[in-house]
Symmetry: none
């Protein structure tokens, strides 16, 4: 058990240090100091700095998975029920990431280090797979439209991902995460277009030449 505790101390310290400096600039010496152990001790628990890094990422990936697994998933028979379940899921994910901002940034946007790319890819692939499953289930149930499943599944994951990266990791938003989830779901479910019965005349002042800023 002591072993477990020390390992925890190390990954926790490593998470802080990696979050602070990124993988390459992080020093094993700093991690050891922050964990209150000698440098050599790190190598009793982890094969290498790389291994320690991957372990840190894996912990967050696991937490995200657990967060979603912990939810009560039931068969869904209405759009509202579907929406509520996903709002729960998104909120859990957001909160888990908000609690580990720094590591979340590395998990989603860090450099490829050892198996780190796989950890990220697997997480995203799983998320996409879940997404695909729901889209298909929803479609066959008549709740959802039949659309380009793979593309849209990826779009949904990307939308979540970027929200985490920009709004939670970069801006540091930690409150109102459920509201954030609801806003995203509203967009996902209903799309952008105004209800068909609304008049669609307009000379919309859509500006020319986008992204010519900066």
């Amino acid at each position: 058990m002591a072993r477990r505790i020390d390992e925890q101390r190390l990954t926790a310290a490593a998470a802080r240090v990696f979050a602070r400096h990124g993988f390459h600039a992080a020093r094993v010496s700093e991690i050891a100091r922050e964990a209150g152990v000698a440098q050599g001790t790190v190598y009793l628990y982890f094969k290498s700095k790389e291994g320690l890094y991957v372990a840190v990422l894996e912990r967050l990936a696991r937490q995200i998975r657990e967060a979603s697994a912990g939810l009560a998933w039931t068969s869904v028979t209405s759009a509202n029920a579907l929406r509520d379940q996903f709002a729960d899921l998104y909120t859990e994910i957001f909160e888990t990431c908000a609690a580990s901002r720094g590591v979340a940034g590395l998990l989603l946007g860090g450099p490829p280090v050892g198996r780190s790319s796989e950890v990220r890819s697997e997480l995203l692939r799983d998320a996409e797979a879940v997404s695909v499953a729901y889209l298909e289930a929803g479609a066959s149930a008549g709740l959802l439209r039949s659309i380009a499943t793979t593309t849209v599944a990826r779009a949904i994951v990307g939308l979540l991902l970027h929200t985490v990266t920009r709004t939670i990791v970069e801006d540091g938003r930690a409150d109102g995460l459920r509201a954030l989830a609801e806003e995203l779901l509203d967009f996902e479910l209903h799309g952008l277009l105004a209800p068909a019965d609304r008049t669609q005349t307009a000379h919309t002042a859509v500006p020319a030449a986008p992204m010519t800023t900066s």
Copy 2:
């Protein structure tokens, strides 16, 4: 005497090498060899390896901006026109990124190196700003719903970004990019829900506990 070698030779070689290995694992010696110049020559044109890297990213960022700026933007008065214009834009972006897959991966998902984070941030910020502008213009023209603008703008950018990263950079898709764009737009504009008049009974077989894969 004018520069005798083309700066382009260097950035092109650097793009290949950085794409192959990422920033940290890329060796200046390999870049020089690939460009067919001596190592020292690199430093006649760029202050450092870091500077060279940022220059490579900036070139792609510029290309993406130019791709979108080159389009004919007109005032939009119908949902279809809006959709067409964005299909053009997305297609241009996809094609630009497909032409520089490796660098696109670094630009969108690479580690922070020198000013590289700013280059990425500026690009995303600009994209989000454009997105916001269109959402607001579309809404005030009655074409689009009024929704949480910032959140949705980020969602849209994230959705694009992840599509580029996964489908174009990782999977290497180079054809059918307009179709991809159309699929995304269909999702963006109409959302996931089946038309309201469709019956919404269903016992949706929505599976419990998502993301418990691998």
Copy 3:
């Protein structure tokens, strides 16, 4: 665990290598080899090659100070007593420098490297200060003439310095250092002129145009 190798091993090796090649041409790798440690080890003990160099110079500067501080200084009431005390001091300095010829050359005549100039300057300034103190004390005691104190103090230090540089460092003289000291003191105390009562006729064959050698 206490340092396992002796810092002394490093400075001694460094002293030899620096003495052999001077600061710039000295290679850290050679110092490490000469000390029988790995290159990296040098940097456990010293921040940089520069720091190691300065440490080597400081050690000799300290030794010179200690050599002079170890002498029994008493109030002086006669020219002979004064002369004896200084003969002791000079001899100590000469012997200390003779024991570290190479380093003495660098301390007194090496290029400015990091704080090395300050180490030298401080030593010389202290020496001049002591000189000034003695000249003034001697003058107020009626033992010495009243003369341009600062200028003469510097002259005396310079005379010692150059003797060390030329006779001890360059020529490698290691014996008869007390005699050397006595000769210098004879010159310092009595000057060059023949006793006034000696006839001063002479057709001195003072040669014209000096220094047209080589």
Copy 4:
């Protein structure tokens, strides 16, 4: 002749740059820029940076020799005449060095670079030789005491050298150089001791333990 001019321009520029940065930190590019020529041009006139450096030192060494050679040396038959001639010599040397402070510092205290050590040594050796010649001539003429010629000759050179280094190069004194020369000569000729007929009782407060400053 154009060649001469360019060479002059180069040595003059090099003197400034070497004086500013020392040999190692001086950049050939900076010298070329300061001289208003291309880098390659330097190598039309000098074999290497080292050669240029030595040329700069040699120029000052030559100037010092010429300064002394330009004086009217006549046979000396009195202490006063001797003193006057040397006052002239010292003043010339001081003024020459004051006019090239930076280079004087390098000539007398710079690092060993190529033949630079020889240039310095030759100058000092010549100075010592002249000194020896005068001491011997003066002694045989009965003007000067018979003393340890070599030692004293070196002492005299060292005294001059250090005065140049400290008072002219470091402190930047440029005026009153003749007075400085006279002060040195007074010390050299008469020594420190008070005239014998002055009472030599005194309890001289000669301080104990010198050089324990800093």
